[in-house]
């Protein structure tokens, strides 16, 4: 601890111990605890206490004081825990009987302050920190803390209850890790008394008829198997599995969610040879209701090593609801395909038809789980892509009311699902996930047909439409190419012809979310297919480009931003509203002007950011209109951006400037500004030309202003840019080698004013030589390091923290005078 902090500490302790002083806020106390943790991790706690006796005095004082706030009491308990985590310091505190007084029955535990949840939480956290060594275990046993922790598991404060559970896990782990670590037998009989006690409590809780108690026990066990990896956990499972079996005998199975979490936690940590565990999992799958079993089945299928029979059973559980839907809606036998085995489950059918919420819940879970499973390498094989596609299409048709099931079950399902947005969204997500695979053309046609139905339907909500667009994009991008031709296949082209009028209509929707989704879809589609003749033809024949351009003036800023991105993308592919024609040569130019206008005048940040991204992309890709006169383009953009209020726009301006620099001077060696190898210097002739160009577009002024930007990311980006420029322009030589004339001196003076916040003065035109000199004269590396520090690194020092806390209560002499 530095001396200044040591000097301030007694005063701070006095403030904390004084109930008349306003208690510092919780954040300060938390920061103080963090600091003490760092100090004790770096050195001896014992030494710390010996050098700063005020700390122990504070702890004693806290015990004596009757009217101290619960926050200070909680703080003291946690502080004591931090000190006692080191065994020698623990002994030191034990000598003074301080620890039993703090954590034993004579302490807050028995007092009125115990009613405050923050004190109970502090007590638990203090013990948690303290319990790091065998002495701590003995102490816990001696002061009866474990029983208190048991009772705190059911604490009305969820934070306290959760912390109590975690503390139990920590103590159990500590006890089992003890001196005999590595030799601890998996056999539970020779476990330490403390561990026996905790496990015994867990066993009792598992037998309890009170569900909250079962839940608590399972939650502790889940954490144990998730965090503790000793051999002893296998013994624990052996000991507890009969209790789990007894839970499974009950109908309904109590605390099923927690049981599933626990079993999955065990399965993740257990060796794959544990047959008993797999049997228990199989048994659990068959005992739980379809809704409860879904998460377990999904968890099992995600396991790396798992018996095939169990995987098959688990997969069957996930497929059941979809199989039931397919069976209920089947027009002809055989539609079930590989799902056939999962069909006909009366329990699943019963759940589906029991009520609307049950049906919706079960289907959404099954669809979500299967969707998540689809891209995983360990997904079941063979993957029933075709029946799953069929099921997704059927569910979507049932939801839209376009399916006409003939069976009674199908009719009831239809009545339940029709118009259900939640299932529609889940099914569309799933259909999108299935686009990673393929299917027979007939079925793919059905997929496109149902997607089109949703995109057309006025009944589709904005969220459903967004999902429908996403799924459509997935399927479109997976469309096969015509053999021997690089263009889109005829089916896709046909679909596009139907899709574009729908997109047109959606771009005119009164709901801005719909317009936005439509534009995002268009952008993505153009990004992938902008070069495909079939797509270009269909798009140019539609009114979509024109509508997109009109949406640049949309009243909703999100839509304007999406329209900017979409028109930028369309323009990149030469697909903008009016194709360049002899009659209207300025059409593309007008888009550039329009985007510049948005950049200069739009009151919202999103469209301006979008414009900058488009411009940067255009410059990077050599967009025709930009490439024609890149210098004028960059000058115009930088001028518009330099005074922008949004730091992201300014940062994007620097990105564009960097692209421009790279185009003038050659690529950077590495994208990392801290790369060891400096970029290669530019040839002198090229450099002189480049510096003149940069001067004309006023890039220096823009970058140097940004160097002192009040937003750190902007300053960092500017620093990187100038470092790159310096490396290209003046890779070596002393700072005074060239042009250290009056020009540089005046620029330096201006920069100092900028740094001081006076940004009004312009920099003036800089000679190339002066630029080089200036770049050399600025300590860019130093600036970069400073900027790399977090913005509050000065204020974050412990000394500052102590001073702030003291100043807050007026305990610092110098702050007394400036109260008024």
């Amino acid at each position: 601890m530095d001396p200044e902090c040591s000097r301030l500490l007694p005063a701070l302790c006095a403030v904390l111990a004084d109930p008349r002083q306003p208690v510092a806020d919780d954040t300060c106390l938390e920061k103080l605890l963090d600091w003490f943790t760092a100090v004790t991790e770096a050195g001896s706690s014992l030494l710390l206490l010996q050098e700063n006796p005020c700390l122990v005095e504070l702890l004693f004082h806290v015990l004596k004081s009757q009217d101290l706030s619960s926050r200070i009491l909680s703080f003291s308990l946690r502080l004591a825990g931090i000190f006692a985590a080191q065994e020698n310091c623990f002994q030191y505190l034990q000598q003074g009987e301080l620890l039993p007084m703090l954590f034993g029955e004579v302490g807050p535990l028995g007092g009125t302050s115990w009613t405050a949840p923050t004190v109970r939480s502090g007590w638990i956290q203090g013990l948690h920190t303290l319990a790091q060594h065998p002495s701590a275990l003995r102490f816990l046993a001696a002061c009866g803390a474990v029983d208190t922790i048991f009772s705190l598991q059911g604490d009305p404060s969820l934070f306290v209850a959760s912390a109590a559970g975690q503390l139990l896990v920590h103590i159990l782990d500590l006890a089992m890790r003890g001196p005999a670590e590595g030799h601890r037998s998996p056999q539970a009989c020779d476990w330490p008394a403390c561990a026996q006690k905790i496990v015994g409590h867990i066993e009792d809780s598992l037998c309890s008829t009170a569900i909250p108690q079962v839940t608590q026990a399972l939650s502790v066990l889940t954490t144990v198997f998730g965090h503790c990896h000793g051999l002893w956990t296998q013994g624990l499972w052996v000991r507890l599995s009969p209790f789990v079996a007894r839970l499974l005998e009950k109908d309904p199975v109590p605390a099923s969610h927690s049981l599933v979490d626990f079993l999955l936690s065990v399965a993740r940590s257990a060796p794959s040879s544990d047959r008993g565990l797999w049997e228990t999992l199989a048994q659990t799958l068959s005992h739980l209701s379809p809704t409860q079993a879904g998460p377990l089945a999904f968890g099992i299928l995600k396991l790396q090593d798992c018996p095939q029979a169990l995987r098959t059973q688990a997969f069957g559980i996930l497929l059941q609801p979809l199989a039931c839907v397919l069976e209920a809606a089947a027009q002809a036998p055989g539609a079930l395909g590989l799902l056939g085995a999962a069909a006909g489950d009366s329990v699943a059918v019963g759940t589906l038809l029991s009520s609307r919420p049950a049906c919706v819940g079960l289907l959404c879970c099954a669809l979500a789980h299967l969707g998540l499973l689809q891209p995983l390498p360990q997904r079941p094989s063979p993957w029933p892509q075709v029946p799953l596609l069929g099921a997704a299409v059927t569910i979507l048709r049932l939801c839209s009311g376009s399916a006409a099931p003939t069976s009674d079950v199908g009719g009831r399902l239809c009545a339940i699902l029709v118009g259900c947005g939640r299932v529609q969204r889940a099914a569309l997500d799933f259909l999108g996930a299935l686009s990673q695979g393929t299917g027979p053309q007939e079925l793919v046609t059905q997929v496109f047909s149902v997607l089109l139905e949703y995109l057309v339907s006025p009944e589709s909500s904005s969220m459903v439409l967004k999902k429908a667009f996403q799924a459509t994009l997935g399927w479109l991008l997976r469309s096969p190419k015509t053999p021997g031709c690089c263009d889109l296949d005829p089916h896709t082209q046909l679909f596009l012809r139907e899709l574009l009028p729908v997109l047109q209509k959606r771009l005119c929707s009164p709901c801005w979310e719909v317009r936005d989704s439509g534009l995002e879809f268009l952008t993505q589609m153009t990004r992938h297919w902008g070069g495909q003749a079939g797509f270009r033809q269909a798009l140019l024949a539609s009114e979509v480009p024109e509508l997109t351009k009109q949406l640049l003036r949309d009243p909703e800023s999100y839509v304007r931003a999406s329209a900017v991105t979409a028109t930028g993308q369309l323009s990149s592919w030469g697909l903008c509203a009016t194709p360049a024609s002899p009659e209207r040569p300025g059409a593309q130019q007008s888009l550039l002007a329009e985007l510049l206008h948005i950049l200069s005048t739009d009151s919202e940040g999103f469209p301006r950011r979008a414009v900058m991204q488009v411009f940067t992309e255009w410059l990077r890709d050599g967009h025709t209109d930009v490439a024609e006169d890149a210098e004028r383009f960059v000058a115009g953009v930088l001028q518009a951006v330099s005074r922008d209020l949004d730091w992201e726009v300014r940062a994007q301006g620097l990105e564009l400037a960097l692209v421009f620099l790279e185009q003038l001077l050659g690529q950077r060696g590495s994208h990392c500004p801290c790369a060891v190898a400096p970029p290669e210097a530019a040839p002198p002739g090229l450099l002189a030309h480049a510096l003149q160009v940069l001067g004309r577009v006023q890039l220096f002024e823009f970058a140097l202003r940004a160097l002192f930007d009040c937003d750190r990311p902007v300053a960092q980006k500017s620093c990187d840019l100038l470092l790159f420029l310096r490396a290209k322009a003046a890779p070596c030589g002393s700072p005074r080698e060239a042009g250290d004339g009056p020009n540089v001196a005046s620029v330096g003076a201006t920069l100092q004013k900028w740094q001081a916040g006076e940004q009004g003065q312009p920099l003036g035109l800089l000679e190339p030589a002066a630029v080089v000199a200036l770049l050399r004269s600025i300590d860019l590396e130093g600036l970069r390091d400073t900027l790399a520090e977090s913005s509050d690194h000065v204020e974050k020092s412990p000394q500052s923290l102590l001073q702030d806390m003291l100043a807050a209560v007026g305990a610092l002499g110098e702050s007394g005078a400036d109260c008024y």
């Binding site: 009311g401 006409a404 009831r412 029709v418 009944e459 209509k505 929707s509 009164p510 509508l547 909703e556």
Partner: protein, 702 residues
Amino acid sequence: MSRYPDLCLNLKECVCQEMGTIDPSIFWALLFKGGFYGMKKREVGGKYCLSGHPTLPCNVLKFKSTTIMLDCGLDMTSTLNFLPLPLVQSPRLSNLPGWSLKDGNAFLDKELKECSGHVFVDSVPEFCLPETELIDLSTVDVILISNYHCMMALPYITEHTGFTGTVYATEPSVQIGRLLMEELVNFIERVPKAQSASLWKNKDIQRLLPSPLKDAVEVSTWRRCYTMQEVNSALSKIQLVGYSQKIELFGAVQVTPLSSGYALGSSNWIIQSHYEKVSYVSGSSLLTTHPQPMDQASLKNSDVLILTGLTQIPTANPDGMVGEFCSNLALTVRNGGNVLVPCYPSGVIYDLLECLYQYIDSAGLSSIPFYFISPVANSSLEFSQIFAEWLCHNKQTKVYLPEPPFPHAELIQTNKLKHYPSIHGDFSNDFRQPCVVFTGHPSLRFGDVVHFMELWGKSSLNTVIFTEPDFSYLEALAPYQPLAMKCIYCPIDTRLNFIQVSKLLKEVQPLHVVCPEQYTQPPPAQSHRMDLMIDCQPPAMSYRRAEVLALPFKRRYEKIEIMPELADSLVPMEIKPGVSLATVSAVLHTKDNKHILQPPPRPAQPTGGKKRKRASDDIPDCKVLKPLLSGSIPVEQFVQTLEKHGFSDIKVEDTAKGHIVLLQEAETLIQIEEDSTHIICDNDELLRVRLRDLVLKFLQKF
């Protein structure tokens, strides 16, 4: 012998007779705190269905000796069989070929014209009236109107059936109903048609016609439109009412209008007596549009709920349709096309204008003119702004700012919306394209819309957007085929859908639901959609046109008032806390459906002269009453009492209904049950009387 107090609730049944005296031995009742008696009465309500159209209902309810007509809707779909009435001479329509039979017989070619494979009657359009034969409409006491769309047949009923009763409706319903009628009369009268076709209606001829003329029902009863004179006369019979106002009908029934949330002034009706409640739900909406929200709470505890006027397009969500409307409108106008919106002059148009008010700027349509053409356009727009008390809360609040509740005022102020009585006059000077025109009639058979269909139908740039759900858009378009203009069907029907009905019924829990038969089965085209029908328990009772339905009322009591002097003479005896009993001898006086218990007439005093009274003179007219008993017999104490009185060898057996006390020695049984006690002994009257007296000791007498 023993009678528990609760049993006194089982009133003996008696038939209410005017001015009849009730024999006190058979009439007794529970005295309520307010001094009223309940009396059971046999009466079953009846319902006569005069319209087969579920959203344009016309039903007659016979209830508690009153005859109430519920709504007076006019089915205008019959007009779809007629050729449109063009405002300006249409060569296309006038040159349509006459229709001839398959054998070439052309005797109908003057009456029937053919257009693109469809046959139309070339005559003044006629309407299908409600049934007039099912019940003598002159006996209808009152007509209750639920909204302005459901009163369009009123002149036919009030002016041509001998109706002498009163019509009840809210002010907005009357005022806007008047506008609708005025517009209808105007549309038809301003294009006089010399020709009137009637030959085709001959049943033998009709059979030979192609569909849909062949299948048209009751064509002989179809009538031409009424006149303005008839409209005024009909409307003069209306008495204005406000929401929650209680209106007494002949002392028998009370009717109350409640907000139904569908249109300005739209109402549901509660029709109730003291013991029965019928709710009439017609054209209600739970959506937040411009009218006051629907009052659901007052519909609770109905014996019968008559449910009509649900949405005609249950699969179309109004919000989605409004979105569709806006999108298609914008698309058309952006391409330089015109948009035609056939509509009524009131109702959904207010909401559409409000949506467009918010949408046009965002869609870049600020420079596009919106025209509203109707003989009553001005009145409709102005009326909507003055019925503040009938509007939803948000709009009501605006009035106090003060701001016009509907934003169409601003659209008019800024010249974005212009309204004209017809296409003639100012409109032709101001008209510029592309534009959006709102005009009637939605059937496309008369009104200014006919002109625009003829004008714009040939260009595929233009679009007609159907928003009113009352007419099939395909049938409406039939006489305009072939048509190049785009047609968009966005029916906006804010009335209750089946999900909302299901929730409503769960909420208000009527004992019985009565509805048109169309609501009890899925639509024929979507027979698998079990969600598109009313699902309730017990199943809804359905009706169809020209059907009479007996309504089930479970409770059949009448309220009887007791005269104060008679009440004073009663001596109630509290048999348990809050429940008192008294016997009453009185005369029941019934007049104007009010029943009053009056003191019985005093026996005539002897006129004197006779010195000696006969013994029989002391006996009152009525029989001597045996005292009424109440209370229960505690078996153990009763047995102890028996033992005290010398009975021995007593055995008690428990039975399903009570106990049997067996006096073995005396060979006697005493059966003690919940509502009776029997002493069974063998011809030993003395013993019976002795035992009876012991039993009576445990009971209260009064």
